[in-house]
């Protein structure tokens, strides 16, 4: 691994984004629009947005970053630029880290904008400190980036990459505790949900919303960070310099 090459790759990915302002706008604003839609939907029902608004903040940045990352890295595979890079001294980890840094930066911007919009425009109230809400949203978006990087390794077309949504993302949403509190689930599903990172992300957000402190927020957040790091460590292993 070589930091200069990782940063060069991150800089190049950001440069590509800069040439595509429409994507930047979508990436930064789309989650806010969805949060706004959600708030509007429950505008007449007291307390519903405060109950679910936090979990939505965990969800949308995660999904958006997952999609963007998996499709962008796939494009790199298909255009032949990845093969070209694999003949250079660039380490596979440099490549993944470069993408993670670039999209991690976008994830931070996106999470900050979405949380600010939810709180100041839609009037979301949480009992815990606001920065914690922001931190959880950032970590969730980074998780989406990491999972997207890993998933793109298993897709050979954009069509397949999009199909990973129902396979890798939707079960996490269904079992994440949003539709039914996790402790009321059938035992088997509860056990499975314990192994899904998004469950812990939603746990962390709900802990912040309830004003919990210390390990009640820290423990689930650390689990999400561990998953994100795990995905980033696995991703370079799925890249191959030699292909059939």
């Amino acid at each position: 691994m070589n930091p200069r090459r990782s940063f060069a790759t991150a800089g190049r990915v950001l440069q590509q984004l800069r040439h595509d302002p429409r994507s930047i706008a979508l990436m930064l604003i789309a989650p806010s629009l969805l949060v706004g839609l959600f708030a509007w939907l429950f505008a007449d029902q007291e307390g519903i947005f405060d109950r679910f608004g936090g979990a939505i903040l965990a969800l949308f940045p995660f999904i958006v970053m997952f999609l963007i990352t998996s499709i962008t890295t796939l494009r790199e595979r298909r255009s032949g630029t990845l093969e070209r890079l694999m003949t250079t001294p660039l380490a596979k980890a440099d490549f993944i880290l470069g993408y993670a840094l670039a999209f991690g930066l976008m994830a931070i911007l996106q999470a900050v904008i979405t949380v600010a919009f939810a709180v100041y425009v839609c009037g979301l109230t949480v009992d815990g400190p606001l920065w914690q809400l922001g931190l959880v949203a950032v970590v969730d978006a980074v998780l989406g980036t990491a999972l997207g990087l890993l998933a793109s390794a298993f897709a050979s077309t954009e069509f397949q990459a999009v199909q990973f949504m129902p396979v890798l993302v939707f079960p996490q949403i269904i079992l994440g505790g949003l539709f039914m509190p996790r402790d009321q689930m059938p035992d088997v599903l509860y056990a499975i949900s314990d192994w899904l990172p998004l469950s812990h992300a939603i746990d962390a957000i709900e802990a912040v919303a309830a004003g919990d402190e210390g390990w009640d927020v820290g423990a689930p957040l650390l689990i999400v960070v561990a998953f994100a790091v795990g995905f980033l460590v696995l991703a370079p292993l799925t890249l191959r310099r030699r292909t059939p």
Partner: protein, 254 residues
């Protein structure tokens, strides 16, 4: 038996794809400092051979050595560069941004980008986005990326495909200049007329090298006046002389 004059030494290379043998024991030597053309019809294995030489092809036996080291080894990644088929560059970046990125990946000095821009004649277009360039210009961006960091062996897969004859001649002129400066240029093409522009020719068919020759010798040996006719004559000779082709052997086994 490794000759220092050889850039590439391939011995008994075997590559399988699915249940099919692409190469079944291919051996080959490529000398340094020349323009070497790898010619043959589409699907004969040119890309697979080039990929094996730059070390991104999974192989199933035999050895490929470049400058005395196994192909694709760490030490070679500064010395060998590869321009893939379909000019793999970032079309949403400008020419300069592309070259800057590849230069920093290679650890090439900053002024190398300007040297290469001048070399491939794109200095005036440096700040244009690649997707706004013509086909010939895009190919030159790809060539430029392959020249960064002054590699000793440049491997280009079909760099002239889809270009008009004037642009093709221009590019081959450029390959010649680069080789004259001491770089080994290995260039594939399926346009037989381009054979005559190389110092040395490798003619490939159905996963085998059917001729390792020079343009002059090719024409003299076959008694033809153009490369295409010479190639056809060679194929005729090949199927007549070598009864044991891979296909015939497989059919006998059944």
């Amino acid at each position: 038996m490794v000759n220092n004059a050889d850039a590439v030494v391939i011995d008994g290379l075997r590559v399988r794809r699915g249940r099919r043998d692409v190469f079944d024991g291919l051996s080959l030597r490529i000398p340094r400092g020349e323009v070497i053309g790898l010619l043959g019809p589409s699907g004969c294995g040119k890309t697979t051979l080039l990929r094996a030489i730059v070390g991104v092809q999974r192989t199933h036996g035999g050895s490929v050595e470049v400058f005395g080291e196994p192909a694709g080894s760490r030490g070679l990644r500064h010395r060998v560069s590869y321009g893939t088929q379909g000019s793999a560059v970032y079309t949403d970046l400008t020419v300069r941004e592309n070259l800057r990125y590849f230069a920093s990946v290679l650890g090439a000095p900053r002024d190398d980008v300007d040297r290469v821009l001048t070399r491939v004649g794109l200095a005036a277009h440096a700040n244009r986005s690649v997707d706004a360039l013509s086909g010939g210009q895009v190919n030159r961006v790809s060539l430029g990326a392959a020249l960064l960091g002054e590699p000793e062996l440049v491997v280009l897969d079909e760099p002239t495909v889809g270009l008009d004859p004037v642009l093709r001649a221009e590019l081959w002129g450029l390959f010649r200049e680069i080789a004259d400066a001491g770089t080994t240029m290995l260039v594939s093409s399926h346009v037989m007329d381009e054979a005559l522009r190389c110092d040395r020719l490798l003619l490939m068919r159905d996963g085998r090298i059917i001729a390792d020759t020079t343009p002059r010798r090719l024409l003299a040996d076959t008694g033809q006046t153009d490369a295409e006719a010479a190639f056809l004559a060679l194929i005729e000779h090949d199927t007549g002389g070598h009864h044991e082709t891979r296909r015939s052997r497989r059919e006998e086994e059944r």
